[in-house]
């Protein structure tokens, strides 16, 4: 088990250069873009002196390399700095206010995409090369081409406006807001045993999760199908059949578990895609998460907040992929020993 610890330590160390490279990119790109936070705040008509004093306040008058290294220095001490606009709140607070909403939506979309992908992929893989298989393969390409805002609006119209069974925007009925612990309303409401709030949070979560999950499920359909086909052709499945094991056990206990190994890698990669897809979904469903927030702050050239958000995203994705590797070791004994 020492090797697992060493492995995790190595992975954690590798995250540092990854984040630094990414951060440098964002730092440069934000400054190449025309405009700066001062202009965005007070407009083009402000006097030279006002602009100058504000630039000094924000440290934007210093040479670029100095700004860069000061930022890195603070970052290494765990300080993401303060926002460059409106009240100059600490970036970490700004992020923490919105990140849980995005996480909740991402996990919702993740679950939906996995369930849909597993279901369609399994249906296709168990009876390959037939009409059902062809239908599932068309499904996988079709959903992948869907545009999130469009499919989101169709869902809103059908389920929210026409059938009136689900809310079309927001995270929860504001009168039912649970006490904040993790910031994930579904979790918080369960932790405080506030069941009406839980039901409300889930109802608000359904449409955005399905919109996001549906689009990303197509990738899993194809992957589950091909992975399952490969496992089903292996000797040990034939050996299972020759032992007269029930089909249900062969499929779920032996085939799917083995087929899951390559799918797991994809899950880690998809999570990053989900975070990106969540931006569009949040906009469509007025979801108060990172998506709308980040778009806004990019427009205002709020350098520190944008940089901080990217760092945060990168760390989060690295954490997820580390988690995937640990789950790998848990499922596959050949890695564990």
């Amino acid at each position: 088990m020492v090797s697992i610890k060493a492995y995790i330590a190595t992975r954690a160390l590798l995250t540092i250069p990854m984040v630094l490279i990414l951060l440098t990119f964002v730092f440069v790109i934000m400054r190449i873009l025309p405009g700066n936070p001062v202009l965005a705040l007070i407009g083009m008509k402000a006097s030279e002196e006002t602009i100058k004093s504000l630039m000094e306040q924000l440290g934007l008058n210093k040479p670029l390399w100095q700004q860069y290294f000061e930022y890195i220095y603070n970052l290494l001490r765990g300080d993401l700095g303060r926002s460059m606009i409106w009240g100059r709140r600490p970036v970490i607070n700004e992020i923490m206010n919105r990140f849980p909403a995005t996480i909740e939506l991402t996990i919702g979309g993740f679950i939906v995409s996995i369930l849909l992908g597993l279901l369609t992929g399994m249906i296709a893989g168990v009876k390959p090369y037939g009409k059902i298989d062809a239908t599932m393969r068309i499904y996988s390409i079709f959903v992948y081409t869907l545009f999130i805002p469009l499919i989101g609006m169709i869902f809103q119209y059908v389920f929210g406006v026409y059938l009136r069974i689900l809310p079309v925007g927001g995270r929860i009925d504001p009168t039912l807001l649970p006490r904040q612990i993790t910031g994930l309303y579904t979790i918080d409401s369960l932790l405080t045993l506030n069941f009406p709030a839980f039901i409300s949070a889930v109802r608000y979560l359904i449409l955005p999760s399905f919109t996001l999950g549906l689009v990303l499920s197509g990738v899993y359909t194809r992957l589950v199908r091909s992975s399952l086909l490969e496992v089903l052709s292996q000797d040990f499945i034939r050996a299972c059949k020759a032992r007269g094991l029930p089909n249900r056990i062969i499929l779920f206990r032996h085939s799917l578990k083995n087929a899951l190994i390559p799918i797991l890698t994809m899950m880690g990669l998809q999570f990053a895609l989900l975070l990106a897809g969540a931006v569009l979904t949040e906009t469509t469903f007025s979801w108060p998460g990172m998506g709308t927030f980040l778009m806004e702050r990019i427009q205002y050239r709020d350098f520190t907040t944008v940089q901080g958000t990217i760092v945060f995203y990168a760390l989060f994705v690295a954490l997820i992929s580390l988690l995937v590797d640990i789950i790998y070791a848990y499922i596959d004994p050949r890695i564990r020993y």
């Binding site: 292996q234 040990f236 059949k241 020759a242 032992r243 094991l245 206990r253 578990k257």
Partner: protein
């Protein structure tokens, strides 16, 4: 006990129909070891799988009957045949390295097989599983090992433990030693012999290795191009092989006691089953081929309990 009558199995490939098993009849008695020998593509493995109705697609069992104590296995429903698989007839596959689920402890795979067929409690099944492991020469502390922690020979022992777990009437072993080294091969053969005398099951052993087959079997079937060329007691085959193919096969066995150390082989190639030759399957390579062999298929003749498919004996 098991009787195969006029079994024909086809693979419907894109390039055409391949008749992998052609009108084969043979029987296996109680506690008898029957060996099936032939080169790759002779249909011997397909025959083995056909008994359990597990011929892989695009293969289909075209015609014939497979009677287990009088019950036709080909007439059973999918549920009924599934109750026979592993219970009355079990199978040991060729490659033990790939025949076990890599993600599951070997003991649990053994347990799973027992529980699938027998209505017994978990503790009882576990005791039984441990006893089985010991019966095939695996220590009980290997119960919680994963397949990759065991050697090839040990894995094949596990496969054999699974195959005998439910006191089957017949065990089909498809090339059970081919993937193993010579020393381990010998141990596995000994294990089979020992189990046969202890448990009294019948064994159908399939191999391309005629010396192995002759060593272990009571009766031997020789297959070529999907057809059963000869089916006789082993000592008869050694003493007086009837079919020219069997004769050539025996000549090709290396013998370290002979001075001539060159490797003997049968000239020519195995038949192309997409375009099988007219008449006897073996005639293009047969040193004793006659005119009739090129035109008509030989009938199967029974002479003193020996079955042979060859024109040489048609009038005798």
């Amino acid at each position: 006990m098991l009787e195969i009558r006029n079994l024909t199995v086809d693979y419907m490939t894109r390039r055409g129909r391949i008749r992998a098993v052609n009108d084969v009849s043979l029987s296996i008695m109680d506690s008898e070891i029957v060996g099936l020998v032939g080169e790759s593509g002779s249909g011997k493995s397909t025959l083995g799988y056909a008994i359990l109705r597990l011929v892989p697609p695009p293969g289909i069992i075209k015609s014939g009957r497979i009677l287990l104590n009088g019950v036709d296995l080909l007439g059973l429903s999918e549920d009924e045949i599934n109750r026979i698989r592993g219970k009355d007839i079990s199978m040991v596959l060729q490659d033990p390295m790939t025949s076990l689920d890599p993600l599951m402890r070997v003991g649990d795979q053994l347990l799973e097989t027992i529980v699938a067929h027998e209505n017994i409690g978990k503790e009882e099944a576990r005791e039984k599983a441990v006893k089985l492991l010991e019966a095939v020469g695996i220590k009980a502390d290997r119960f919680n090992d994963y397949p990759h922690q065991l050697s090839g020979g040990m894995r094949q022992r596990i496969m054999i433990a699974m195959a005998i777990a439910l006191d089957p009437k017949l065990v089909i072993a498809d090339e059970p030693t081919t993937a193993l080294d010579v020393i381990v091969q010998d141990q596995i053969v000994e294990l089979f012999k020992e189990l046969r005398s202890k448990i009294g099951m019948s064994l159908l052993i399939i191999s391309h290795d005629i010396s192995l087959i002759l060593e272990i079997s009571d009766k031997v079937g020789v297959m070529y191009g999907g057809e059963l060329m000869e089916f006789s007691p082993s000592d008869e085959i050694i003493r007086e092989p009837l079919n020219p193919y069997t004769q050539e096969l025996l000549k090709a066995v290396p013998n370290i006691e002979l001075d001539d150390k060159t490797l003997k082989f049968i000239p020519g190639d195995p038949p192309d089953l997409l375009n099988p030759p007219m008449g006897c399957m073996f005639h293009p390579r047969c040193p004793r081929a006659m005119d009739i062999c090129r035109k008509d298929k030989p009938p199967t003749l029974v002479v003193d309990g020996k079955h042979v498919k060859c024109w040489l004996y048609s009038e005798g």
